[in-house]
Symmetry: D2
Subunit: 502 residues, 4 copies
């Protein structure tokens, strides 16, 4: 059993110097005493692990963008009264949600993958309003604590990760009826300094690349689940935390094949299983403890924010459209009507996703705390389109690319004296196109449609922020069926005083 | 040859008393000396024609909404400095475009059909900015004239129709090369009072129910087409105008079957072929005459406005979703999972359309004249979704409705003493549902999916404001392929200084 | 209460002279003492009713084809040892099912609508094997009776209709629990001569144009539903039968608009509600009475046959593809790549339907009676495609046709001296195309996509032979999930001896 | 320059002992003097290369099936008058094509991947009829030579690969205008013993695992391309041949992660770039040399055969459906209505593909040589469905699987003493499911949807046997537009003697 008494000040001591650049950020990750595993081995320094590094690079772009395009990626915070990275900001008007989405699309364009910082961002927004609501009802200190936490984070410019998805075990049972109580994260002990939590969080995006984690319940709870109704913030290197980084398609290509074979050598996403073993959380970092009735609104607000954050995939879509257009050009078929038509279709689907996300931001409404939250119906509609259209965009990209996208020799073949020249001879496309450029573009298309970043572009688009069925349930709840039935009855000439009995 | 010398004041004399209500509007249509034909016969008073009347009623709702929900359907105009019907307003900020779209959806919900007033509305917006641009270049009076015209219209609260689509003849040839010059509307004569135009405009929405018409060119023109580059406003009862109202599916049901068989007895759309035979336009009502270079931007701005106006179809979608939900309830299957799933899918598609339209309004940009115009890419994307999703929504509505939607006896059968009781006996659904209500809802679904208002909900969704291919061409023009290719090349690791030769 | 003692011989006396031609057939319908209603009025002679006549013509084509293409539409019957119309034949090998489907497609091409004779054909096939099975178990005379009935029908060359769909009332209850027992057809009395049945059958295709009807239960029954487990054959003019012909979209166009406005003036479908009021069936025409356990296999075999019969819609698809291609030609755009691409897509979808139907015929299997029945999985898959693809084909046809398809003036306008010339002037397409031909093709497209025959091409494709969900249930039953799971477990390297507990 | 004089007998000497089993086959591949490269290194013995071996295993199943299910996978050959492996057979009736497709589906089920032997099979069929046609016209010996070659192959029971796709270079130019003549395979020299060919063939399936290769032209040729009009057979270990095995997604998982991480450790596909450097072909193995006019029919017949061979993907679909059903069971959600509905949809799409392929086999027609060839339209329709539906099936499989499919720890993590127990604790699903089984099934789904065998299930489904556009061109050629237009004109009431001028 861990004995934990560290003061909040001590916990923040390492972050006294604010992170000012992408390079600062990368350095800030080094030397932390973390339990990180990948493919059965402990990773001594994740930043330097060749498979993990591209995910660090992608996260680092959230800092680089803030220095390169401060209008887009920074914003003034009323909480700390300073200009901060937008990833640490609670939006207080629709325009800030709109700007957030533009920033996310731009980062998608820059990285061609998941840059991992949105879960924490959307956790911040949700906790802001839910802590406010709890205190409004119960008169506690959660909101004040949360604002203090957030102000420190803004000052330090750290990465906050969010952790929501529990393992769930037998899905037909609530937390308190599971055979193993740890299948949902819960409080195992409380003392005068704080609380101790155990459990795990699945497929956590960018956790290893974060500085702090906010953990939250994953679903509606009942009174008997009181100990599972817990929200708090911990350092990612807190004692008791273990990270098992998941395997991704083609993750080791960067090691065994080289930069070209990787397709996008610089950037990738990251997801891990985080195990909590009696992890201490000081009271000042506890934002919910037992208020089970608020679990559902926390989940709903988080998913409403987060489903619209999938606007980032339109940035990936931009890259893939560009890659397909380049491949067509390399093959000399960019003028064929069916090629042009497929590029239009890809764009149409991509912009349809964009429009659903943006409409929900423009039509956001304030919670009592003042935080603006995307329109719930539109956010669910947006995410639901994300579960469909990227798959079709990817299929069209492969269509334009041609079969070579999956049968191409390795970069190492190209470097071989005997066969390298043969590849250069036979893969030559139209005049003026370098064979190596043609190969690179095809590798990028492979990367995004059936390679490492297809994890983020496709499967994560399906399941992140809730699987398709979760959106359908939410859409069903937001439907105004009774209003619509009344309209229909009126136009059909039915006396509105009569209704079918129930 | 007509001799025309009426002053502008004389032309407006009939509109001295502003229209203040739906009833005023209907009365204002009576007694006009118009050449209207339907099914081979001259229609002496269109307002009283049973097939045309439902279209008058639908237009009248644009007045009723203004009295019932003035916040939604009226707005302050800076041009006439008074509160006016929103259908006569040039939007000067994004919020006004957003409000316009909410109004359009609400009218779709109220009428379940095309209420016909958007073409004129979008013509106003486009002419505002294009006349400004022409004068800015050529120093003319078009914009001033247009503002004066619009101020009169706002004061009188009249319906302005818009007329754009020419017959086109041989589509491979520009206007001046057509065998018959009238296949595109053109100036045939000019005198000191004004100009005389001949030609025709096809499938003109609500023309017979309007007070004034603005005619505009239908496509990009060249210098040789100078006489076809003409924009002007005429009274719909101007000498030389003939209207041939088109047939619609089930248009005569209201006559031969009665209200129930019509499905939606109160409301319908209207489209007609308008023939111009040397129609006089006084100079003050001429807004373009020969400035061929501006035809394309007029068309582009009009279609950008108008493609987003198809947000109205989401109001029809609301009605159809409500009708399908009612039908399911009547059959006692509203709890079946596949039924609920289909209602969710219908809603998802409907809200996807809504989101594309709204996003383009929120992200509108001002033209030099100050008029705000929807985002071009998003407006085209929105309309392109409109060419697809209503068909699937309609299919799902028929799926839920059951086969009875197309095999049901007539209202007259129900009234027959011999078979009426048999129908009541055998069409009884679940307890508490009146057979006649069940039939009415099914007739409404028939009306919107394979009946009179399917014209508006489906085929007009396909072709109105430009056929699908027109949107694809516009999306192709708005695509940022070069930017996207550059992004892809960068992520693929290609030296950005090298490019394929062209 | 009717007293019925007519002998079977007497019932067949009117059919002593075989029908030899389409003309014979039409004459055979005249002068029958039937209770037929349409739009609230008794129809004295359905053959001469202008709205009903096109459906008679469509049925007559099944006779015409037999004389014009005997190889396709006739076949040797082992039952009566003569060459008969294929619509009266029980298929005894896969080739005969294949030929049946080719005949159905050809009739779809000839008529552009539902020719109505397939329900009876598929009823024959199902009754053949089910009566055989019942007698095999219970030792009765049903199969012998059925063969005798069929031999007479083959000799007389009559139209046999099939009637299956009961009104069903409260769908959550079986027949014997309905408040009104007539909501499912049932035996109300038995005497030494035969049985008496009451109830109704909904949306019965071509019933008024038939000579005999075979009625069958509509779903799985239990012992308590014994009186509802009844199959028999009656003359369509039997005392106690009443027909209420359903309204179809644009059904009265042929009357109020003329041949051109009708789109397809010659051919249409027909569906009616048939009410049975103590209709007498002599024992020799009773093919099931109380054997409730066989109701489900009768329904399953019938739907398996009938779902594949929807191959006829590919014939309609051929017509619509041809109409769209003609419309493109009239507009002078037949060479545009997007037009060609849409025609290819329409063809691809149409042939996909065809292939599913044909595969199920080629892979048919014999029932114990020797009758061949389509492959159950493939027949359901085929019909399920029919519930989707015609809607998309229709949408594409409207896309190619242009908006004129729903805004076009009437034929009567064309005949008007004043406006006829205007229409001819402005609707002229490319050189060499007659305006009237252009209009006719557009009216045909209207007819098939949003007009009278859209009932058959679209809504009937959705609901005929069972709604989409019915096919999904059947596909679920035919899925080999356990085999597939075993394959997956083997390839995944799971020890096949372990299985999840249930 | 190679000097080649080996007699045909000498070339066949190594195959004197027929291959009788899967084990024989694997042994037959050992010790061959081949130039095979993978990832920049020469592969001394492909059979023992861990990445290549799964592809050998998949090919070996074609032998195992022949011993385990001889009815399915062997057939009597009239050419050699013996029972042979069906992969060496020229089908001479529809039933043999049907049996071929059933065999292909079964092998898809057994291997979950591409078993690589169909290209050669379809090459045999095409060469049989085309050599017959050439000789019929020109009186040569090609057909006789081909039969002799085939008889030897049947006796030896070898694997024949087929090689068609040339690199093509600048796609706007025919072979003789390419800057480098080798961009299409061609004859570089002829002597009294035979011919010498140079060039390359791209993405050749299973080439390294074959014994013989038949090379064929890839497109329609003109007289100037005479030297490129060449067909012949060579041993895969012939001097002058070099193989560069392409990289596949996750190909090295089997090495770096172990069997579980591979998903399907036993089976995989294989594609390589084959370079021909003056490869000698003795006259007896030359089946076309200069008869350029027959190139197009060779290509068309090959693609007609081969597009239907994609029925194999329905076997992969069976596996994926089974895997998804297992995953649902492991999660305890197999009873959820949306899960069942998705399994039904996957099955519906899979069986639609199957039906198109089978219909085209049943409706095959004989070429003059007596070889039966699938119906051209239906074969193209079938393949076109294969370019779409597997992507949707894969998406649905991922939907059912849940996000863990791409975030799961490695098998090596499971074996680690520290974190293995954590994984077992937190990945436990419902009672009775082994964590390792759950992981294996998810790895299989990963393998087929975003892993190694997604290459075969998805991208190869898109591009193999021609890209989607190739099928659309072929469908366009097979469309009977004129017949359809005539039907439409007749039904629309247009005088058939008038036609639009051209």
């Amino acid at each position: 059993m861990h004995e934990q008494m560290e003061s909040v000040e001590a916990l923040w001591a390492d972050f006294a110097t604010p992170i000012r650049s992408a390079e600062d950020y990368i350095n800030s990750l080094r030397g932390r005493p973390m339990n990180v595993f990948f493919m059965g081995e402990r990773v001594p320094e994740p930043v330097d692990h060749p498979v993990i590094r591209p995910s660090v690079n992608a996260m680092a772009e959230t800092y680089r963008l803030a220095t390169e395009q401060p209008d887009l990626a920074t914003v003034h915070s009323g909480i700390s009264d300073r200009r901060i990275n937008r990833f640490l900001h609670v939006p207080v008007n629709p325009g800030e949600l709109v700007a957030k989405h533009e920033m996310q699309r731009e980062l998608g364009r820059r990285t061609g993958t998941c840059f991992q910082r949105c879960v924490g961002l959307d956790a911040i927004g949700s906790c802001h309003s839910v802590t406010f609501d709890i205190d409004g009802k119960h008169g506690g200190q959660y909101h004040k604590r949360f604002l203090a936490f957030l102000e420190r984070a803004q000052a330090a410019n750290v990465v906050i990760g969010g952790a929501m998805t529990d393992p769930k075990g037998d899905r037909s049972k609530p937390p308190h009826q599971q055979r193993d109580p740890d299948l949902f994260l819960h409080v195992v002990r409380r003392d005068r300094n704080g609380i101790y939590v155990s459990g795990a969080k699945m497929h956590q995006t960018g956790a290893v690349n974060s500085h702090w984690l906010i953990f939250m319940p994953t679903m509606r709870l009942t009174e008997a689940d009181r100990d599972w109704a817990v929200v708090g913030a911990v350092r990612v290197d807190a004692p008791g935390l273990t990270y098992i980084v998941g395997r991704q398609t083609n993750d080791t290509r960067i090691v065994d094949g080289g930069a070209m074979d990787a397709g996008n050598a610089q950037f990738a996403g990251q997801e891990s299983l985080i195990v909590f073993d009696e992890v201490f959380v000081p009271h000042d970092h506890v934002f919910m403890d037992g208020e089970w009735a608020y679990a559902s609104s926390l989940v709903e607000r988080f998913t409403t924010y987060h489903r619209s954050s999938y606007v980032c995939k339109t940035g990936l879509g931009d890259v893939l459209i560009g890659a397909a257009a380049s491949a067509a050009e390399h093959n000399g078929v960019e003028g064929a009507s069916h090629i042009k038509d497929k590029l239009v279709e890809m764009t149409h689907l991509n912009e349809t996703i964009y429009s659903s996300c943006m409409a929900g931001a423009h039509q956001s409404k304030p919670a009592p705390s003042g935080a603006y939250i995307n329109d719930e119906m539109l956010s669910n509609v947006a995410k639901h389109n994300v579960t469909r259209f990227p798959y079709e965009i990817a299929r069209l990209a492969q269509d334009i690319a041609g079969g070579l996208v999956v049968t191409m020799p390795s970069e190492k073949d190209l470097q071989n004296n005997e066969i390298g020249p043969l590849i250069r001879k036979f893969l030559q496309g139209r005049d003026g196109v370098e064979v190596v450029d043609r190969m690179r573009i095809l590798r990028l298309i492979e990367n995004m449609t059936i390679g490492r970043n297809a994890v983020g572009y496709l499967t994560e688009s399906l399941h992140g922020a809730g699987s398709p069925q979760a959106q359908r349930i939410q859409i069903a709840r937001s439907m105004k069926l009774e209003e619509n039935k009344a309209r229909a009855r009126a136009l059909a000439g039915i006396d509105s005083s009569r209704k079918p009995s129930r």
